[in-house]
Each structure stands twice: as structure tokens, then as C-alpha cells.
Assembly symmetry: C2
Homo-oligomer: 287 residues x 2
Amino acid sequence: MTGYIIAPDMSRVGLTRRVVGVDYTGAEVTQEVVEERPLTIYLNSQEIVTAMTIGDYPEYLALGFLRNQGMLEGAGSVTRIDYDEELGVVVVRTDHATNHEEKLKKKTRTSGCAVGTVFGDMMEGLEGLILPRAELRTSWLYALAAKINTTPSLYLSAGAIHGTVLCQGDQPLVYMEDVGRHNAVDKISGWMMQNDASAADKILYTTGRLTSEMVIKCAHMGIPVLASRSGFTAWGVEIAQQVGLTLIGRLRGKRFQCVAGADRITWDADLSAIKDEPKRSGRKGGA
Amino acid sequence: MTGYIIAPDMSRVGLTRRVVGVDYTGAEVTQEVVEERPLTIYLNSQEIVTAMTIGDYPEYLALGFLRNQGMLEGAGSVTRIDYDEELGVVVVRTDHATNHEEKLKKKTRTSGCAVGTVFGDMMEGLEGLILPRAELRTSWLYALAAKINTTPSLYLSAGAIHGTVLCQGDQPLVYMEDVGRHNAVDKISGWMMQNDASAADKILYTTGRLTSEMVIKCAHMGIPVLASRSGFTAWGVEIAQQVGLTLIGRLRGKRFQCVAGADRITWDADLSAIKDEPKRSGRKGGA
């Protein structure tokens, strides 16, 4: 695919494994199944979290996770990131010493068995946050969906994985996949930080549901538009309206629903040129 | 639907909210969107976790969560469960005092940003665990899928929600839904505990992916068969093979794949009588 800075790399060793089973007729079948392995993230000398991840871009994942948790605030610049593949450990080092004993205690009490979020910390910094007012053209939305859905991906080849794509206008730029949709977003956040990428002119596309957690992550990253094939939760909608995020869901073929920021949409697409999604597109809305 | 002990209760107030937005033509649309609200779980005097949940069956969720985390071991019997709806707090009280300072510290270090799991604790107790050898008839699988997929549910009416169903033979018994698939499983676990339900003769059906976490929860609950419309992760498959769990995925229409325990399947279904899934079934495989 042209135009991507990072696209799914299907040739990468170790992201999937061949698993032998039987199908409904009892015949032996072999399938590619995505890997899922623990990655322990350290911030300086402190162990922060063990994430279950597919295993690519551990440095971006670690950096983006720490950033999205607000743990890099007051830490100065990131001086170094070391990844030990054998141990499954990534260490992010910063200028200034950090101590997140208190934050970790808080996390203990609030870490989500529900949707994997660190609820208490995540809401921090949202008060008073208003995202920049960004235009969204419907022609971009349709172009992005068409490009992303036909980009070769682990999802299309192995399934059971979430994708998140950083886009600008009608161009997908960075396409990350992971077993947890939060990881995919965190990897994008880490990439943006390492590459000093602007957020105000970007669009975040995800295959996952638009829960409060996804909306909060997007807001923390400063990206003013979030779009998904999947649906909403009520609280996700509420937060999007509060922070001025344009929130688009159920984006399939011609159809979508916008539940926040609809006044920023420019309706420039020629609908007669947009195809309805083929019934067997190979894509589903992740529940 | 007949035969259910608990089925989704669509008349229950407060599980969904009407949200106004615009559709792809710019026309105003109103849709039902599932709620997502914090529930803080206490074990005796100790605050354990805040889960994001749809809000039904908080007592089962709290009990099942604590049980699946192994936090009730050594606690004696559960003497009382108090739920304060206004505060969003549920307190589980046990015979013996509990102190999970150490466990919570461990959880801090291992709670999953990836798939919402508490990795360190979850793996505890799996060494040497072998599930009872249970028969699985393909006729049951097809009957369960047909019944569950046509049962009125929040998924069918609002989407963006996961379902998990406790079944016996060809009969679905307890159908729980939640914004996080882990919550749906935990609610089933809590129900089983409160009702002294046997596990060895049960089948667990879920709409979500068969990640390591789902397989581990099912194993901890002692249920020997786990089936899903969705796909696998490699580690989930590995753990299922290790503990003797029959693992069925991508169950749609006639089709399924079995990647662990296939030798326990009785192929008694008349395939010519099973319809392929209609292309627009309203059901998707959750990514």
C-alpha cells in the first residue's frame, strides 16, 4: 500500500503461529493464529505493568502506555529505551527520576477488570480539556475506510486482533495491530511521541468499540477525530461531547453515525460513488 | 426463550440510553447505546478494584471477580454481599478476615493494559490442573448457537457489548452481557458460586475472542468446554491443551474449528439439517 509510514508487516517472524486442529467435518486443518505474550514495562528502575501483546513495536508500546497513563509528566525527556526480547522486558529511561509508588497504589484500586483501563488515572487531566476544532470531510472518511479495510493485515490473515490507524485527511499513515485494542492505540501514541507528530490535524481510526477508555485515550493524545466500524457506549459519547471530540461509529460502506461534533463535518462525498459494503467483506464490527 | 434461568432482560431500566446523532445523510437519528459505569468492589474492608460495567448483577460480578482472582481462597464462606447503587459500590463480606495488600501489590505490577487481565494472579493454580474429561456433541454446539443467536439481547438491540452463556448439553442456562467480556464471565462465575452449580457438566459459550485470559478464567471455573464465534490466540490454545479444555472457535453456521480436545467430540449432528448462517445474521465475530 502506498502512503503508509508503518503498515502491518506480514513477513515479520513470530507474530503468528500455525495451530493444527479439526474443522466441523472432523478433517484436520491448520490455521495461522496470532501470538500473545507478556511484555513487562519499566519506567527507570520501577516495574510498572505487564501487558499481553502480540510483540511488535515494544518500544512504542511502552512509551505510549506510559504517556497515555500520564506517567511521563515531570519526567523530563526520554533518554533511552531498552528492549530485551528474551526476557520480554522494555525499560524506558528519563532525564529525571520518577516514582510512581502512589500512582501505582491508585492503579491497584482502580485497574479495570472491565475494559482494561486504569480508570482513576485516565480521567486525570480531562477537566477543562477542549480539543482543537478540526474539519472532517465525509470524503476522507470513506477513502480511509476503503484503504484501511483492503490493506493486508494480521486481521485479514489470522483474525482475533484489533487494529488502530493514525490518519491525516484521506491518508492512513501508521497502522498498528494488537491483541488488545488499547495496545494498538498506545503503540500509535508512542510512535507519535518519538516522531514529534502533530495531533490536531490527525484522525484516529479503530476497529474496536468506542468505550470511555478509547475516547479518553484519544483525547489525551490530542487527536480531535475518532472513527470506528463498531458502536458506542453511553459514557464514551458523553466524554466525546464534553471534550469536543468528533465521534463517528458504525462506519460501514456508506453508513455511519456521528454522535458528537457533527457540526464540524463537511458533507463533500458523492454518495452515489460510495459502494455499500459487500456482505462478505472479511471485516466485521468488533463487539 | 424457554429454558433459561437468566436471559437478557430487555425491559430493565438503565442498561441503555437514547443518544441523538446524525447519520451518513446528515439526518438526525436516535439510537440505543449501552451504559458503562464504574463499580467499585470491596472485599471486607479492602477496596479491590473499580470495574467498568453495564451495571446489572453487581453482586454476581463482585463475587465472580473475587473468585476468579483467587481472592476468596482461605476467606471461609461469603456471609453477605451489600450493593449501594447510588455510590456504585459492592461489598463482599466473608467469615474470615482477608488482607490482599500483597496480592494487590502484585496486581499493580501485572494488571493488563492489554486484555484487562491480572496476569500474575490468574496463572496461579493452573499448574497441575486437569479439567474433567467431558463429552461434547456437535448437535449440542449447533443447537446452542442457534438458540443463543436468536435470544433477544442487548447485543442485538444496541450492540457494542459482549455476551457469555453458561450451558448444559443443548440448553443455554445463564446468559450474561457486559461491556467487558471479562465481566460477563465473572457474573456467570458469581452466579455459579451463589447457586452451587456444578461445573463439570457445563459448556461456556462466549462472543469474544479466545485469549489466554478467557481460557484461564474458564479453567479456574472448572468448566471443561469453551466455545466462541470468534478466533484464538496462540497462548489461549496452548493453555487449553495443557489443562484439557475442549476449545472451539469460529463457530458460525455449520462451521467451527476445534484446536484442543477434539478427541472428546461426538460427531452426532446431521450436517444436512444445519443451515449456513445467513449473510446478514446481525451477528458478527467480535474482533
